[in-house]
Amino acid sequence: MTEDVAIRVRGLQKTYGDHVAIQGLDLEVARGECFALLGPNGAGKTTTVEILEGYRPRTGGEVSVLGVDPKRPTRDWRAKVGIVLQSTGEFEALTVREVVNHFALYYPAPRDPAEVIEAVGLTEKATARAGTLSGGQRRRLDVALGVVGRPELLFLDEPTTGFDPEARQEFWELIHRLSAEGTTILLTTHYLYEAEALANRVGVIHGGRMVEVATPATLGGRATAATVVSWDGPDGRQTVSTDTPTSQVSKLAAEFGGEVPGLTVTRPTLEDIYLTMINAGKGEQ
């Protein structure tokens, strides 16, 4: 039954005293899927992920990760789960190669450390001490340690925070490769374009609840959302929200007898949709 499901969460609850961090969260991630969790700071993303990683106890609900309740993590289960945490800044006096080689010893069927270092783009830095790496390079070392054990499931908590655009692009390629090899990936991110680039599905967490789960293209009714057509009319800037943008533009073209001045046709970006959802959520609270 759970063969094709990597993560199953039903009614997850987490409270700290009076503070309710997670209230009845549901989540299902298929094997081989790349799933992105979106949400503002304090929404409960990290709390949720750390419960799934076996780090934090939960207050209520059912959780199954690779068929195991992470409340009681076993070493066999640990070997199948790769974790890339938020924090960095360790092993400063050791080289990249020393650290990756060492972590490979923990796992029963590790990847070749040299290949992992190559895959995260640190080959040139293999003999450099971790303390001399840039922020982006350290993050890649974190990823190397998360994948060296050949995990079936990889958790990535805000993996590209602090990356420059080029490093982010390279990182995305790495994630695509892992995903193509069949690794299930659950990532949290602040960057909506990152979720769009990487994830098969995205889930938006707000106020400890899953507000919506959808593909990036259809989140928040994005695919069917009204398109905004704007142009410069005789009385200034005109804007129309329409479900039939093509006929709107044809009508305008006929009116102007050719070119429409200042014409723009825009669909809402994922960011627009997301902000609308988050702001609607605020209204409820």
Partner: protein
């Protein structure tokens, strides 16, 4: 595409092997950090050179204080490496998330502690060699030719490392953060040094302070080392007019067991509210 389901290796052999690898890595890391080498390993050497030359007076029992000081500084060096270094280092590792990262791997938890013991033993051996070499070059100590004394040296060292390390692991949970760890742990170690007959003759302390000092392991490690490096006639100057090897062993073992119990009950891989 499902990944192969190789099972994790188990058993004490695997834990020992990973522990040994961790120990090698920790030693490497330690020696590449100049501050830690200076403060942990060189500090007792500096103390030996300064105090050994300044406190140059005879004490009861027909010896010079500088001779009395050598076993004391050996004990201080051992306790510093075990208790101070471990308590501070583990607090920092917990705060930085290093322990959390290890917890997330299939590493056998025992390997972490075995690695620490490998590191601590390496440093204690090195430190003892350096301190003994310098003091014998300066003529402050005569290395015993009697193997019985070296047996005493080895078991006092092993028992001292066990007590000091387990206490260090237990105390690593006391500092509220990695940053505050040195400020929390260092004064404890300093006060113990003053109560344990390192900087002056133990029996010069007021008797109630001697009783306080005798509760803690450092006094006993120093006394054990005196029994190795001072003439047997000096035993008459000790508080019980004897070396008290039996009581020494008992007290170090009790501290080791106590430290182990507290460490098992309080050790946390993570800082914060969900630890």
């Amino acid at each position: 595409m499902a990944t192969s389901t190789a099972t994790v290796r188990r058993g004490p052999g695997h834990a020992a092997r990973i522990g040994w690898e961790r120990g090698k890595l920790e030693v490497k890391e330690f020696f590449r950090q100049r501050e830690s080498v200076v403060f942990t390993l060189a500090f007792p050497v500096i103390l030996l050179l300064i105090f050994g030359s300044v406190l140059n007076y005879d004490i009861p029992g027909n010896i010079n204080f500088s001779q009395y000081f050598v076993p004391g500084i050996l004990a201080t060096g051992l306790f510093g490496v075990c208790f101070q270094t471990l308590a501070i280092q583990i607090a920092i590792e917990r705060d930085k998330g290093i322990l959390k990262r290890l917890e997330g791997t299939p590493m056998p938890p025992a390997s972490y502690f075995l690695g620490k013991i490998v590191m601590v033993l390496t440093m204690v051996v090195l430190e003892s060699i350096v301190l003994l070499a310098i003091s014998s070059a300066l003529g402050k100590v005569t290395l015993p030719s009697d193997w019985h004394r070296w047996v005493t040296f080895v078991w006092v060292t092993v028992a001292g490392v066990a007590a000091g390390s387990l206490l260090g692991i237990a105390f690593s949970s006391v500092p509220r953060s990695g940053k505050s760890a040195p400020a929390t742990i260092t004064p404890i170690a300093l006060v113990l040094q003053f109560l344990s007959g390192v900087y002056f003759v133990f029996t010069d302390l007021p008797s109630w302070l001697q009783h306080v000092g005798a509760l803690f392991p450092l006094k006993w490690i120093a006394q054990g080392y005196r029994s190795v490096f001072l003439p047997d006639s000096f035993a008459a100057q000790e508080p019980a007019h004897a070396w008290e090897h039996g009581r020494l062993a008992l007290i170090l073992v009790l501290w080791a067991v106590g430290g182990l119990v507290v460490a098992i009950r309080t050790f946390r891989w993570r800082a914060g509210k969900d630890a």
